[in-house]
Amino acid sequence: MAGETVRGVPGGVPTRATFESVIKLRLKSLWDRSVAFWKVFSRSRLGMIGFIMLLVFVAMALTGPVLTATGLLQNPEQQNLDNQYEGPTSRFWFGTDQLGRDLFSRIWWGSQATLLIGFAASAISMGLGTVIGLISGYYGRWLDEILMRIVDFFLVLPTLVLILILAAVLPPPGANLWKVIFVIGISLWASTARLVRAQVLSLKERQFVERARAVGTGNVRIVFRHIFPNAFTLVFAEAILTVAVAILSESFLSFINIGPADVVTWGKILEGALDAKAIDTGLVFWVVVPGLYIVAVVMAFTLLGFALDEIVNPRLRRR
């Protein structure tokens, strides 16, 4: 950054003072754009519903440790061997599991790992998809051909089959949190790559890119400073939708007992329910409630993603 003319500031080599004012200007414009975006977004009723639902889940995830420490929430790992397989009572609101652990607090805690897996896996897939899409779209030709065939391969594969096979084949043999995140993340990037590539193809013909090239800007800088920021909002909407898919995938992995070993997730609580034959013994809460939480969180991300897509995707834009 040092030594070059900063956009928006006249007068050649920046001094410390101009540098600070640039940062102020940038922050101001970021703030203004955020406010403008929020004004548009808050008009989408479904989007706001999704946003509020998401806030509730984030609040649950963040308050879990505090509530447990202050005793308002029971310890999710606390076993009460006198109270196994209980239905809902005043002490255990959603009943207890095979070890007598309180399902209400396990479900509350479940939001933490579930959200973490969703966000982290989506971030991996967004990063990978963006890089591949940028390279493919910007450099084109044979590199594009090769990368797009690989993308086709990932798109054609049923995601769940790919996830299961990677989970079986990749080391370590057991499953930990980060392996699960990695496996889901690298299975979901292909549609992001497609999306970014399409954006790049149209962006790279625009005048501002041509101008940047004319003044001698390097390829890498053009891609990351001029093209990527313009494609980012679309990628972001896609990433939010991907969180939902990642959470659904995690729930099934946990359900067949190859989910993350060291944390509580809703899929894992359901696995416990299946294992303990909760369906046969009529422990309805154990089966129904964790699933409803998954449905709610998936809905939240899907609503949010659709609402964002509607704002940023020029093909859907109604303004």
Partner: protein, 328 residues
Amino acid sequence: MRRVLIRKSTNAALTILIILVANFLLFRVMPGDPADIFFRTSAGAKIDEEFIKKQRAVLGLDDPLHIQLGKYIVNTFTGEWGYSFFKQTRLVTDIIAQKAIWTVILVGSSTIITLWLGMIIGAISAWRRGKAFDLTSLGLGFFFYSMPTFWLGMILLLMFGAGRGLLPLFPRSGVSTQPSSPDPLTYAGDVLAHLALPAITLTLVQIAGISIIMRNALIDVLTEDYVVTAKAKGLSERQVLKAHAVPNARLPMVTVIALNLGFVLGGAIQVETVFNYDGLGYLTVEATLSKDYPILQGLFLLITFSVVIANLVSDFVYAWLDPRVRLG
């Protein structure tokens, strides 16, 4: 037109090539010694030396990598897919062929019901756009779409499963009560009863996707000039819909069925797990848990091939059905 189809076929062939290479690499060039990974077994299951020798020969593990890849591709097309790790006397191809029938029945029946119902719901939604029916079906569809498939299966078991269900209508697990029956009619009825809950689950999670596509396609068609003409010449709304709009809106379904296949197979894995339905999905989970690599490799190949081929076929069918594409 021909150029497009040739390009699509070439792409499909390239994708198949990538599938072959990926399948080869995934199971062979993992960190560590390939033989070690290939024969690593979970908790104490022992594989005898004879079997390892036989596998090594089939896989050609002692050759250089590129020769191995060549052999692997030849073996794939000649049907030499090796033996299962855990049922060592059994060929992968035999096991897969035996289970495939149940998945075909499950996926086939639920896809047909989904298409039929989805198109009806989508058509009514488009016609009553923004009205109560449209909003209800969108909302309900979205609700089922957001569900983990396996959990919907559990809920249906809770409601309709024999034994403790609220309305114990259907058997809870398996493909039939007995492997076969002297009376074909009783057997067919039994198979149908076992199919009911899995098929309903798979239908419910798919239906939103299909009906929304049908709805949007029909909304597009309804703004076309020929629909206005049909109305202008005095046809009733029903006639316009039945004879002019719906047949054209149905066209994109050809592509959707193929694109949907990957999603359905993922759903089938979940459904078969919950209901212990003895098809390919159940086999996939079983093989994943027991790390039965030859089986997984075979399944991966079969599933990816069928999705690629289905997409290619749908491109050809679409081109053949739509005169604008065929003659264009």
